[in-house]
């Protein structure tokens, strides 16, 4: 599978990471190499293998519906660089 500069641009856009044109080639080459390495998995036939998402063979423990958290808005916004009146802020979003 060939991985191109355009692929880097596409995933960079999806992951909100800006890649300079200068760096583009480097990223493409590096990722191409790693993907090539990953492709050795194709040697394996995995047709009847169940995917494994988590090493624990368990099931989710469901928690009781109790309020035990919240109520500290000042602390929540305390680490934000641009907060106001306990709101976070972002550049204005136009729908």
């Amino acid at each position: 599978m060939s991985f191109s500069n355009d692929d880097v641009k596409k995933v960079a856009k999806l992951s909100r990471i800006r890649i300079d044109d200068k760096q583009l080639e480097q990223y493409t080459n590096d990722i191409q190499k790693v993907l090539g390495f990953m492709e050795q998995l194709n040697e394996l036939n995995t047709d009847n293998v169940e995917p494994m998402a988590n090493p624990l063979d368990g099931v989710q423990v469901l928690r009781n519906d109790e309020i035990k958290d919240g109520g500290y808005p000042e602390t929540i916004v305390n680490n934000a660089t641009d907060d106001t009146m306990n709101f976070f802020t972002v550049p204005k979003v136009v729908e």
Partner: protein, 483 residues
């Protein structure tokens, strides 16, 4: 008085109990050693004032006979564990200004059990790396040679224990990040079973692979640390609700009748002579101690590494989406929302982090999900099944942990695949969620420490520690770096 920093946890605890020295004296020795070894760059943040006031409390507790299990032990945490009121950076510019208002479950437990925190230890950015050089705060050096890497990602954690600037430390191990730097720095480190320690409050890299664990001067110190940091946590859905054994109690040195498997697939092509040799020595040592060596096969071993990188990058790409500059951490302003996101994330993350996010995004994206991500999960199952099958006939496995001793800073850096190959012996057990320990057993031709790895069944750290302890006793590894 002898240098207090040379004492292990069990020796120091005895010393405190016998009033041979005070907790303040012990902590002060470590603070002095921190200063003396500052050039190694093991620490990102030092909390020495707080450590000293904690030491005074420890002395009070000792005086009043209320000694907790790890009373007065000056440890330090990988800067991936959130610590209340203390800057937590993940080694990244992204969190350079982040001070959490909460304490990770593991560091909380250790504090409650008497540990004193000297500070926060350097690491590869967001725990991604095997050389300890990708931190925003500069690379960490190996105490065995200032031109050598300490390994990664728990670089500061292994370095500090080796350089005696912490009596023990916490690390995290997603693909070998406790065991590999432990091996490179000549100290002991165990990655517990996935689910043994809570991940709550630990900055996530790859959630289904991450696990916190201890690094110590020897196996016993690791056992003591592990007993004091493990346990169920209802805030972590993947934390196992099973009792925590007294891990120290199994360290008898007696491994009679224990069956140790030697997986043939770990004899990789181009394995350096000295690695093969040390592995062979390890087998002899365990036989000497009474264990039985059995050849086993883990046929999918070679596929674990590529599958690991697919899964780890996929999970990381999602886990690291929260770093967007809005609620905490680095922020670069932009005219529009997306511009702010892009500038913030491009500037805040290091190169390796960005590369893994991009790869992870790619393997999850439409059209590639089945070919990469699902394929990797299936291979993960095959790798886990290999272990399951092997453990039907053996109690633990003995393998190399690194393909070489510590390499030079700057080496392997130009080629990511070459760098990833460092993890070839370590990632397999992460895929299966198993415990594994790295024990220093000898020196390389160039005089650098080499370790071996014991891998155990899920939630059977006891056997891992027991075998590791036997190995340690036989190896009589007593070399120390020249600091």
């Amino acid at each position: 008085m002898t240098d207090l920093t040379k004492l292990t946890i069990s020796q120091a605890t005895t010393g405190l109990k016998n009033k041979d020295f005070s907790a303040v004296e012990l902590t002060t020795s470590y603070i002095n050693q921190m200063e003396k070894t500052d050039n190694l760059n093991a620490y990102i943040t030092k909390t020495t004032d707080n450590a000293l006031s904690q030491a005074k409390i420890a002395d009070d507790n000792i005086a009043s006979g209320n000694m907790r299990p790890m009373e007065g032990m000056p440890i330090a945490h990988k800067d991936l564990l959130c610590t209340k009121g203390v800057k937590t950076t993940a080694g990244s510019k992204m969190l350079d200004n982040f001070t959490p208002d909460y304490e990770s479950t593991v560091s909380q437990k250790l504090a409650e059990n008497g540990c004193i925190s000297l500070g926060k230890l350097n690491l590869d950015q967001f725990a991604m790396g095997s050389n300890g050089q990708s931190s925003f705060y500069g690379g960490t050096k190996n105490p065995w040679g200032n031109d050598l890497v300490p390994g990664g990602s728990s670089s500061g954690s292994a370095c500090a224990v080796s350089a005696r600037s912490a009596i023990a430390s916490t690390g995290t191990d997603t693909g070998g990040s406790i065991r590999q730097p432990s091996a490179f720095c000549g100290v002991a480190g165990i990655r517990p079973t996935y689910g043994r320690c809570s991940r709550w409050g630990v900055v996530a890299y790859a959630s289904s692979l991450d696990q916190v664990g201890p690094i110590g001067k020897d196996v016993r110190d690791c056992a003591i640390m592990l007993s004091n940091m493990s346990g169920h946590d209802e805030k972590d859905s993947t934390s196992a609700n099973i009792p925590v054994p007294d891990f120290e109690a199994v360290l008898t040195g007696d491994v009679k009748g224990l069956k140790i498997g030697i997986p043939k697939e770990y004899y990789i092509d181009d394995m350096p002579q000295e690695i093969a040799k040390i592995w062979d020595n390890g087998k002899k040592m365990l036989v000497e101690a009474g264990a039985e060596i059995v050849d086993v096969s883990l046929p999918h071993t070679k596929y674990a590494l590529p599958a690991y990188y697919i899964i780890a990058c996929a999970e990381a790409s999602s886990n690291l989406s929260r770093y967007d500059g809005v609620r905490y951490g680095h922020r670069v302003s932009g005219k529009e929302l997306d511009e702010m996101y892009e500038l913030t994330r491009s500037e805040g993350f290091g190169e390796e982090v960005k590369r893994r996010i991009l790869m992870g995004t790619y393997v999850l994206s439409a059209g590639f999900y089945d070919a990469y991500y699902i394929k990797a999960q299936k291979v993960r199952r095959l790798v886990a099944n290999d272990f399951k099958k092997a453990f039907e006939s053996v109690d633990a496995l003995l393998t190399p942990i690194t393909p070489s001793p510590a390499f030079k800073i700057g080496e392997n850096q130009e080629d990511p695949v070459k760098m990833y190959l460092n993890d070839v012996f370590s990632v397999t057990l992460n895929m299966a969620g198993l415990p594994g320990m790295s024990v220093p057993v000898g020196l390389s031709d160039s005089g650098l420490p080499l370790g071996l790895q014991i891998i155990g069944k899920a939630f059977d750290e006891e056997t891992v520690l027991k075998a590791s302890y036997a190995l340690e006793k036989q190896a009589k590894f007593d070399a120390t770096p020249n600091i």
